[in-house]
Symmetry: C2
Subunit: 401 residues, 2 copies
C-alpha cells in the first residue's frame, strides 16, 4: 500500500501526528509540521475580537503577518481560548518545546489549537505529545497529521496543486479542518499550506491574503466566526525558482496556484459542514461592486431558511430573493434574476414558469449551484456553504459543555 | 362561556375573520379590522428591499407612514410578493372592495398579506371573503380574526393594556402573527394595534416607531427579514382624552402604554418562533452606545450555535463570547462579563467557576435570560429570540413550494 502524501509533498518539509489523549476519542490530537530550516512564512488569523491564546502568540511573533518560521505545532481537543495569561504562557511553552526539539527559537514556531473554549490545556500531555511528535517527524505521517487536527470533521481534507513557475516545478499542498464547525464546543478552522516555492515573506503574506479573499473567506457554515481561525503557509524554497520578491508575473502565477489549492480546501470545508449533506455555491454577479456581491452572496449563504429549503430540495426562490433583499447590498427586484442549477426561476421582477422536476433533481444532488444576477453592475462573488439538517441541531444542541 | 376580546376592546372598532379557502387547512384566512369612522392611523413596514405588493399599497396611501384609515384587510396563505403590477392591482382591489362595504375610500384601507411568495392571490376567493367578513363585522369575532392571520403560529398572540391619560381610561389592544417564521414559504410578521386614545396621525406614527425600536425590532427568530412585515395602528379617539397632538406628558404616557403592549406581543412572537421550545432574552449592557448594544445583542440572538446550545440546556458561554466578538460592536474580553440566569460564567477575561447544575436548571426552563456586560459604556439593549430545534429544520426543509 502506498503512503498518503500531501503536506510534506513539497520538498523541505516533515511532519508527525500523535495521540496525546486530549481528545477523549483516543485519536491523534497533536501534530508538528516542520521545515528543514527557518523559512519564509505567513499567517492569517481570525477577525473575531475574542481571540485564542495561540492566535495571540502567532500575532506576537509575526506582528505584520509574515516572517520566518521553522514549524507549526497544532493540537485538537482544547482551543486554549479565554484562558488568560496562563493560557498564553502555555501557547508560548508549546512553541518553546517544539523549537528546542528542532534546534530553532520559540519565535520561529507558530501555534494553533482547536476544541473547547475556556479550559486550560493539559500541559503534561502536551509536553509528552510534542516530544513524541518531534521524534517521529518524517514524510510518511501526513495522514496522522491530518487526523490530529480534526474535530467533528467527517472527512480528511487536503489539496495538492502543481505548476511551473519560471521553468521550475512548484508544489503547493494544504490541509484543513473545520470552519464554523464546532465540537465539542466552538471550534475553529485551521489550515496549513506548505510549498517548495521560493517566496519572500511579505509576498507570501500578500499571496495568502489575496487567495483567502475568495476562498476561505467565502465559506460560511453557520455564520459563527470562530475565535481561533488560523491559516498558515510555510515556503521551503526548495523548488529552485528565483526568489519571488516583487509582485510581477511569477508572483501572479504563484498566487493563482495558491488560490487553486485554497479554493479546493475551502470547498471541502463547506461540503463537510456540520450535518451537511450538500455543498452549495451561491454566485452573485451584476452587483454594484465586488464588495456588494460578497455581502449579497453571504446573506443568501447564511440564511437558515434558504439552507433548510436546499436540504429539503425545495425550489424556494422566494427565500433567495428575501435574503438578497434584507442584505446591505443594493438590490432591485425589477433587475434581479435568480437561477438554480442554470434554470431561471425569477426573471427581472417576476416569477418565471419553470420545470419543477428539473430544479428538484438538481437540488437533490450533492453540489448545488445558485446564481443571482443583480443586474446593477459588474461586481461578482461566489460564497460556499452547506445545507442545514437536523444533524446540525443534534451536533450542537446535544453536546454538553 | 365568555367571548375572547382584544382587538375590538377599545371603543370604536369591529372585526371579523372568515374562511375563504386560501389556506389548504380550511381554517380562517381573511380578516377585516374596521374603525367606525376614518381615524388617525400609522403603519411601519419591512426594511427588506424586496417588498410585497400590499406593503407597496400601504406606502402609496401613507407615504409618510401615517394618515387616516377606516380599516385594514388581511389575508393569510398567499403573501402577494414578487407578483408585479398585477399583484399591486390585486392589493388595491382588496382595499377598494373593503372600502366600498364600509362606505369609505380605497385610500383609507390598509392591506396586509402573508404566506407563499411569488403566487397571485386567488381573487375570486378573496372577493367572496371580503364580502362575508364585511357582513359579519362585530365585537365577538376577535378570536376568528386572530386565527385568520396565523400561518405556522402555534399560539394566538394578543395583548391588552390599559392606563389613564389626562384622567381618561385609555385601552391599547394588539394582535400579532409570525415574525421571521415561515410557512408554507417565507412568511411575515403582521401586527395590528387598536386604541381608543385620541392621537393625531403624526404623533401616532412617532409613538409607534418609538415603541417598535425596542420591541418588534428586538425580535429575531432566524435572522431572515421578511418581505411583508407590517405593523399598523388605528386610534378611534373614543376614550375621550384631549387629542394628543404634541410630544408632551400625555404623548409620553401613551407611548409607554403602547410600548408595554408591543413588548408583550414581541416576546410572544419570539416564544412562538418556529420549532421554539424556549423564549430567550439576550441583554447587553455596558456597550459604547445603544446602537452597539443592539448589534451585540442581535449577534448573540442570531447565532445558530448559541441557539442550539440553549436548546440542549448547555451552559456554553464560549459561544456567547464568540458571537459577541464576531459582531461589529466594540468588545474587549478583558472587560466582558457573561451571566446566564444571574449566574456569572465569565468574568472580565477569565472563566469563573460556577454551579453547572444551577445554570442547567435555568436553561432547562421556558424563559432564558442571558446578560452580557461589555464594561465599556452605558449602552444597553435587550433582544428576544428562541432556541433552534430539529423542528425548525423540519418545518423549513420538509415543506415543498
Amino acid at each position: 500500500m502506498g503512503t498518503i502524501r500531501h503536506i510534506t509533498l513539497p520538498a523541505g518539509f516533515s511532519a508527525a501526528g500523535v495521540v496525546c489523549r486530549i481528545k477523549t476519542s483516543g485519536r491523534e490530537d497533536l501534530a508538528i509540521i516542520a521545515a528543514s530550516a527557518d523559512v519564509p512564512a505567513a499567517v492569517l488569523t481570525t477577525q473575531n475580537q475574542v481571540v485564542g491564546e495561540p492566535v495571540k502568540w502567532c500575532r506576537r511573533i509575526m506582528p505584520r503577518g509574515f516572517g520566518l518560521a521553522r514549524a507549526i505545532v497544532i493540537n485538537a481537543g482544547c482551543s486554549n481560548v479565554c484562558t488568560g495569561k496562563a493560557g498564553f504562557a502555555d501557547a508560548r511553552e508549546m512553541a518553546g518545546l517544539t523549537a528546542r526539539k528542532l534546534g530553532s527559537r520559540p519565535q520561529r514556531v507558530l501555534v494553533a489549537s482547536t476544541g473547547i473554549i475556556g479550559h486550560r490545556l493539559p500541559m503534561a500531555k502536551i509536553r509528552a505529545g510534542i516530544a513524541a511528535a518531534a521524534a517521529r517527524l518524517g514524510t510518511e505521517n501526513d495522514r496522522a497529521v491530518l487526523r490530529a487536527i480534526m474535530t467533528t470533521d467527517t472527512r480528511e481534507k487536503s489539496a495538492v496543486v502543481q505548476s511551473r513557475i519560471a521553468g521550475k516545478k512548484v508544489t503547493v499542498a494544504g490541509i484543513v479542518k473545520g470552519a464554523g464547525m464546532i465540537a465539542p464546543s466552538l471550534a475553529t478552522m485551521i489550515s496549513v499550506i506548505t510549498t517548495d516555492a521560493a517566496v519572500a515573506p511579505a509576498l507570501l503574506h500578500k499571496a495568502l491574503s489575496d487567495a483567502a479573499g475568495t476562498t476561505y473567506n467565502a465559506v460560511t457554515v453557520d455564520s459563527d466566526t470562530s475565535t481561533s481561525d488560523t491559516l498558515a503557509i510555510l515556503a521551503s524554497g526548495q523548488a529552485g525558482n528565483r526568489m519571488i520578491s516583487s509582485p510581477g508575473a511569477d508572483f501572479r502565477k504563484f498566487t493563482d496556484l495558491l488560490r487553486e489549492a485554497a479554493r479546493e480546501l475551502a470547498r471541502s470545508v463547506a461540503a463537510d459542514g456540520e450535518g451537511a449533506t450538500k455543498l452549495i455555491e451561491v454566485a452573485v454577479r451584476g452587483a454594484r461592486g465586488d464588495a456588494d456581491a460578497k455581502i449579497a452572496a453571504k446573506a443568501v449563504a447564511d440564511s437558515p431558511l434558504f439552507k433548510c429549503a436546499v436540504h429539503g430540495a425545495d425550489p424556494n426562490w422566494g427565500r433567495i430573493a428575501a435574503a438578497l433583499g434584507k442584505s446591505a447590498a443594493k438590490v432591485d427586484p425589477e433587475r434581479l434574476t435568480i437561477k438554480i442549477g442554470h434554470i431561471v426561476l425569477f426573471d427581472r421582477g417576476g416569477p418565471k414558469k419553470f420545470d419543477v422536476k428539473k430544479v428538484r433533481a438538481h437540488l437533490a444532488g450533492k453540489e448545488i449551484k445558485v446564481d443571482c444576477d443583480l443586474g446593477l453592475g459588474k461586481g461578482c462573488f461566489i460564497a460556499f456553504t452547506c445545507d442545514y439538517s437536523r444533524e446540525y441541531i443534534a451536533i450542537n444542541a446535544d453536546y454538553h459543555t
